[in-house]
């Protein structure tokens, strides 16, 4: 009978369970809770309005809880929100706001509510999230916004200090974009991390004439300068880098060639940046007799600098003036930083097989700019608005792509014009095979905010041309051709022409090269 009892018990349980479940399901539901905002497990008295485009949150009670100062309610049209040291300006009905110096687009515009503005979720993420490190997790299933403070991360920082041409460049490289504040005082620059901690690089002594020391604390990088130094800072992406150019106060803020001071810098003086290809461990091509491309490009660049300054009202900057390895992106960064009017990268060529010979001039291919625009848009998507940012975010990206495209199209057209002049002058001056003007996705030309060309002045892999390139007289002819090309490019329109040192006459107009591509 015991077994029978057990069987009956099991059967009863099996029957009871579904009944219990059914009873549970059949119970009347608890009254639904309204939307809520929760910070650290505590519910905040924040009004939430659900709209088809997403929830809107009353800003004032959030400011009371998260910190900051909200002003400007009197006008009722625009509000100023100060979070730490960052000013946020937002207008009712306007999906574009400013956060510090950045223009930020929102998925929907803030609206006027009782007691102040109602703002969308991405407003909170792009203001309190970006500035103070809060995270905002919207849970639509129960209409709850859970706010939490982001835990501080440890970010590895790399330090590089390079001295070139009387200017020291300090580079702080981060694996991802940190939240930071820059404090600049005489003799000191400080990078203050706002939430994250630094994993500093291995301590090494800074031996530099302009930078006394670079020290690291958990949330602070301190760059100590010599007393008469001043600094300019800028950012580079991929990876994120903070770059500080340090130079003496008495000197011009950028390296200037020896004779440039004789020209009036406020007049029509143009800035030419010459980039001697390769350098350091990157030898470039090696000729049959062992001559390295990096050596000859530096010699040619120095000669070109001297001739340009002698002959034209230009300021000339070399990207490198010694046998140093210099990343390609830094070369264009130097040109951008100096607001150059022209960027000329000098190279000597090589080919597989020794037969190739002649000079050719490259400018950036439109394929490269297209890809770069895509890349820029992609990075905007990653670092900017979330995917659900909506039309405003998309329009902003479209606008940025359009602006990029317009700028690149203009630079490409000018680059092509200058490349044509260079090639024509080289053809005119030298008995070289005309290999024409070409386009290629060359890295050193990407990101240049000015007309930019890469000139291959001959094939160092060809024994005949290698021998010629080692001859100073031949190199002088090459340099002279480049000077004439620069002069013709910079030549003002006929009406504006003023008295400048005359250039040797060039016979004939710009020749069209068989290899010339169609205009971009």
């Amino acid at each position: 009978m015991t077994e029978l009892h057990r069987l009956v018990s099991v059967a009863t349980l099996l029957l009871a369970l579904p009944l219990l479940l059914a009873a549970q399901i059949g119970r009347p539901e608890a009254p639904p809770r309204g939307p809520a905002v929760v910070l650290d497990g505590r519910e905040l008295p924040v009004a939430v309005t659900i709209t088809p485009a997403g929830p809107l949150f009353a800003l004032r009670p959030l400011v009371d809880s998260l910190g900051g100062q909200l002003g400007g309610e009197d006008t009722g049209e625009s509000y100023n929100l100060k979070i730490e040291a960052t000013e946020v300006v937002t207008g009712i009905g306007n999906a574009i706001i400013t956060v510090g110096e950045e223009i930020v687009s929102l998925s929907q515009p803030p609206v006027r509510g009782q007691g102040g503005p109602l703002v969308p979720l991405d407003f909170l993420r792009k203001t309190y999230g970006a500035v103070s490190g809060y995270s905002f997790d919207w849970r639509p299933e129960d209409s709850r916004l859970v706010i939490s403070r982001r835990e501080s991360r440890e970010i590895k920082v790399l330090l590089d200090v390079v001295h070139l041409q009387g200017m020291t460049t300090v580079v702080l490289q981060f694996p991802e974009t940190p939240r930071y504040r820059l404090n600049q005082q005489p003799g000191v620059v400080e990078v203050q991390l706002l939430a994250d901690r630094l994993a500093p690089p291995v301590r090494k002594k800074v031996d530099d004439s302009l930078v006394q020391d670079v020290t690291f604390a958990p949330q602070l990088v301190r760059i100590q300068l010599v007393p008469d130094a001043e600094v300019e800072s800028y950012l580079l992406d991929n990876p994120f880098r903070l770059v500080f150019d340090v130079h003496r106060k008495s000197a011009a803020p950028v390296p200037i060639g020896p004779s440039a001071a004789t020209f009036d810098l406020r007049s029509n003086t143009r800035t030419i940046v010459i980039d001697p290809g390769h350098g350091g461990t990157e030898t470039g091509a090696i000729g049959p007799s062992g001559v390295a491309e990096k050596e000859l490009t530096l010699v040619l660049a120095r000669d070109l600098e001297a001739r340009l300054i002698q002959r034209l009202p230009v300021r000339v900057v070399l990207t490198r003036n010694d046998d140093a390895k210099l990343p390609l992106d830094n070369r264009t960064a130097i040109a951008n930083q100096n607001k150059a009017d022209l960027f000329i990268s000098l190279h000597l060529n090589s080919s597989l097989g020794s037969g190739a010979h002649g000079a050719e001039t490259y400018f950036l291919s439109s394929q490269a700019t297209d890809t770069r625009a895509e890349s820029a848009a992609a990075s905007e998507n990653v670092g900017g608005a979330p995917a659900a940012a909506g039309d405003a975010g998309q329009e902003n990206q479209d606008l940025q792509m359009l602006l990029w495209d317009l700028a690149q199209t203009h630079h490409l057209a000018e680059s092509q014009r200058f490349a044509g002049l260079v090639q024509a002058e080289l053809n005119q001056a030298l008995e070289l095979r005309d290999r024409g003007v070409k386009q290629a996705p060359f890295r050193v030309l990407m990101g240049a905010a000015m007309p930019a060309v890469l000139v291959e002045l001959g094939f160092i892999s060809n024994p005949d041309e290698e021998a010629k390139l080692q001859n100073p007289a031949y190199r002088a002819n090459l340099v002279e051709a480049l000077v004439r090309a620069v002069g013709r490019y910079l030549e003002p329109p006929q009406a504006e022409r003023r008295s400048t040192p005359p250039l040797p006459p060039t016979q004939g107009a710009v020749r069209s090269n068989p290899g010339s591509p169609t205009p971009p």
Partner: protein, 226 residues
């Protein structure tokens, strides 16, 4: 319920459980077998190879690329075709002369080795074949992994152990090397739109200081000799 009735209920339950197990065994295992048969048939299909003509683009001694028509034993699988094409390009043009052979005329002359530069990075890769075509890389450079993404991007890894960097060169040489691979793959395998080159498993900003190889490269027909 009598003890006898309870026994019948238990027996019935047991029969049901055993029946279910038998059904699962038949359907599951049988299905698995048929699945494996399907996969095997697919593999067999992919493995079935045929000779197919490809235009392989080799550096020419004059500085561009020139096609050499070659028949390769390939399957229908795009990845197999990419691999076979690349292996053939890396192996060099047909009847490649050895570096000791006399030069084949000015345009086809082999590049002499620079004196005192023992590094293979700067050494001549190979003398040109009678056709004037040249092997793009040193024979030690081998093909590593090959992947093809759904959007038509082929990822190609070149391996040269103990050589952190690709060979130093001028821009034309770099263009010849890179585009001999890019054009050979993208112009022969219809599923490939663009190519990402890696060196020892790493995508590089450039191979030799000129071409941007940090993003996919589209084929460039302008380099091809008519």
């Amino acid at each position: 319920m009598s003890r006898r009735a309870a026994g019948w209920v238990l027996a019935l339950a047991l029969v049901l459980v055993l029946g279910s197990l038998a059904w699962w065994w038949q359907s599951g295992r049988g299905g698995g077998r048929s699945g494996r048969r399907g996969a095997a048939a697919e593999e067999a299909g992919a493995a079935a190879t045929e000779r197919h003509a490809f235009d392989l683009y080799f550096p020419s001694a004059g500085g561009g690329l020139r096609a050499e028509r070659r028949e390769l034993q390939v399957s229908e699988a795009p990845k197999d075709r990419i691999r076979k094409v690349l292996e053939a390009v890396l192996a060099g043009p047909a009847a490649t002369a050895t570096p000791g052979d006399p030069p084949a005329g000015k345009e086809g002359a082999a590049r002499p080795a620079p004196p005192g530069k023992g590094a293979p990075a700067a050494a001549p890769v190979a003398a040109p074949a009678a056709s004037g075509l040249v092997r793009p890389f040193s024979p030690e450079v081998k093909l590593g992994g090959v992947e093809l993404s759904a959007d038509g991007t082929a990822f190609v890894d070149l391996r040269w152990p103990d050589h952190d960097d690709p060979p130093e060169s001028g821009s034309t040489e770099e263009i010849q090397r890179v585009y001999s691979l890019v054009d050979s793959v993208a112009l022969n395998v219809p599923q490939v739109n663009r190519v990402v080159l890696l060196w020892n498993g790493t995508q590089r900003i450039t191979f030799a200081g000129h071409l941007d190889t940090s993003r996919p490269l589209l084929p460039d027909r302008t380099l091809l000799a008519p």
